[in-house]
Symmetry: C2
Subunit: 374 residues, 2 copies
């Protein structure tokens, strides 16, 4: 093999305004490149304890079982299902976008009998219809997406939904991949049982870890399983014994990624949750106003709009792919297109974590004006 063709990594400096990964702050990149220590080093066990505490702060929970999975947000989704589903269990999944569909697909692979509560992409669910659906069978769990990355819709009323789910004896799984760290996620106040996210969106660490938290109620369901968890890598009966005492080896966790997540969470805590949510909101409001002025308002009504991800309706007749390509290649700005029923109909603009900065909004609006109308 001719090794000379593999040059030093020399990538363009992208301004990441898509649905994730978001930009990573310098402090997090520095922490990431700290020389690693062993995964059972007493100093590293101290890092694990800090990460757990910082994650509890971010999830607003006291759950003992709170740590990142050694995979991306998708692995978090799988862990949220495979640990609690046994073959034949009935589960109810709310689907109003791509990630709801994926929840249903994964649940099926673990042998669940999956019922779907369906809405069109971009819609959200009302507690009443959820209650009606819960009455139809004896469900073990109900899963719903908080912030749908495929549509930009934010599911509200989670506390009310949790009450209904618990009244029917089921567990509530909440996908906060696109919301945690950008909009309020109150795991304990809302009484969510299983909540997972990704490191690479509003938390602004690199992709590769899936923060998760599990309520004592859900841990009881796990411990009462009749069958082993079908997925070994994501098995919480084993993972909890590494992340907690006696710190038994399960797999070699991604040490450097955990350094990075720790620093990203420290930035969350330093900024403060309310201040961080306000920053995401304010910058997105500026974006929303600018998009309306350009004649391409967000497709999601204001009251259901995710503050971390905006989905403007594209004007008719534009070559949206070519505009996105020019944004990327001429100006180093990444945004994403729609897919599924929204292909060619919307853009997906993320203002997540470190990407949510005024200068990015002003630049993007200015470039859009130029590329759309000149």
């Amino acid at each position: 093999m001719d090794i000379s063709k593999f040059k030093d990594l020399d990538l363009s400096s992208r301004i990441l305004l898509g649905p994730g990964p978001s930009m990573v702050p310098p402090r997090v990149l520095n922490a990431l490149s700290t020389p690693p220590v062993g995964h059972l080093d007493p100093e590293f066990l101290g890092v694990l304890a800090e990460v757990k505490e910082l994650l509890r702060f971010t999830f607003q929970t006291k759950n003992e079982v709170t740590f990142p999975i050694s995979g991306t947000g998708s692995a978090g989704m799988e862990a949220a299902l495979c640990n609690f589903i046994e073959p034949g269990d009935r589960v109810l999944i709310a689907t109003n976008g791509y990630f709801g569909e994926r929840l249903a697909e994964i649940a099926k692979r673990y042998g669940a009998q999956v019922d779907r509560l369906e809405h069109a992409w971009g819609d959200v669910f009302l507690p009443d219809e959820i209650e009606e659906a819960l009455q139809k069978a004896d469900y073990k769990l109900f899963a719903i997406v908080h912030g749908e990355t495929s549509t930009g819709a934010l599911q509200g009323n989670v506390k009310e939904i949790a009450e209904l789910v618990h009244a029917h004896g089921a567990l509530l799984v909440l996908d906060t991949v696109a919301s945690l760290g950008g909009v309020p996620v109150k795991v304990d106040e809302w009484d969510v049982d299983i909540c997972y996210s990704g490191s690479q969106k509003c938390l602004s660490a690199p992709p590769g870890l899936a923060p998760m938290t599990v309520s004592p109620r859900a841990m009881e369901v796990l411990m009462d399983r009749k069958t082993p968890v079908a997925n070994w890598y994501l098995d919480f009966t084993l993972l909890t014994r590494y992340w907690g005492k006696p710190h038994v080896y399960h797999h070699t966790v991604p040490v450097n990624m955990i350094f990075a997540l720790r620093e990203a969470l420290r930035l969350v805590a330093e900024e403060g949750l309310e201040e961080r949510f306000a920053r995401h909101r304010t910058n997105s409001e500026t974006l929303w106003q600018g998009l309306e002025d350009l004649g391409m308002p967000p497709i999601i009504p204001l009251e259901h709009r995710l503050a971390s991800l905006t989905t403007p309706k594209l004007p008719k007749g534009i070559d949206e792919k070519s505009i996105r390509r020019r944004l990327l290649t001429d100006f180093n700005v990444e945004i994403s297109g729609g897919f599924g029923p929204f292909a060619g109909m919307i853009w997906r603009i993320g203002l997540m974590g470190f990407s949510s900065r005024r200068e990015n909004v002003i630049l993007l609006l200015s470039l859009m004006k130029e590329l759309l109308f000149s």
Copy 2:
């Protein structure tokens, strides 16, 4: 929460001579901290193509399906089994240490009927006994560990074993977590079907990725499945469509970890495979001689000894835990103890990748002499 207690990350500079993670070269740490780009960015798709080519070089294969899994080596092990096992399939697993046991455990969770070919920890397998075992049933796959991290034994005769396995119509799964990049692994010449490793041992990238390669023969078995792969995150029918054309989104891969792996593999190619194997061998031979001089020779006979991981038999009457603790806290040197049947009986000393340097061997032998005999 009192945020002031979370200080800047300030860890001791460890010399990592355990069974992994190994030390990470500065060039790899620099690549790791490159600001990320999007996982579908055309420039990043170029990086993916380079990583695939560099991995093919390292695995010594032409297999099209060659890429890292977005999890640690344990996820690689799970991917090597779950993609090829359907419920009820019979599989044969060789167990002579912890990781063979884990292969059997994971195969069982995917519904396989698992037969074990068992040996005591530290032993290796002869082709004859494998052939005899293969005759007992119609096995879909046979899995064996190349370098056993729990014992320091290297399984030889892989080419001969592959011939036997194929003569019986089965696939060969080979675990090279502790061997790839440190001792010869010749996927095509040996005709291995499914081979996986970890980023954090002889490749000296941080933990978090599991390089894998799959033969066309195994891909046919995958494509002929009657049931979907039970594990969504590790499903090769989906992963191959992201890593190859049409580059369809499956999950957001760990972009920065892939930067690091690329650089680590570039270092492998720059050094040259034969030169790299010779370095691992030479440094370990120095260690072996030194350990014999100290009266604690490796427990594995020379002809089955893994050049990346050495397991000396401990002298009677020493407090091995206290010596390891002093090595770590007083001198920043990490080595590991034995576990399972080898608990308290051996140490596990890794000279893997960037950790395999003469100065590390000399330091360790010098410290051992001091701590054991003074």
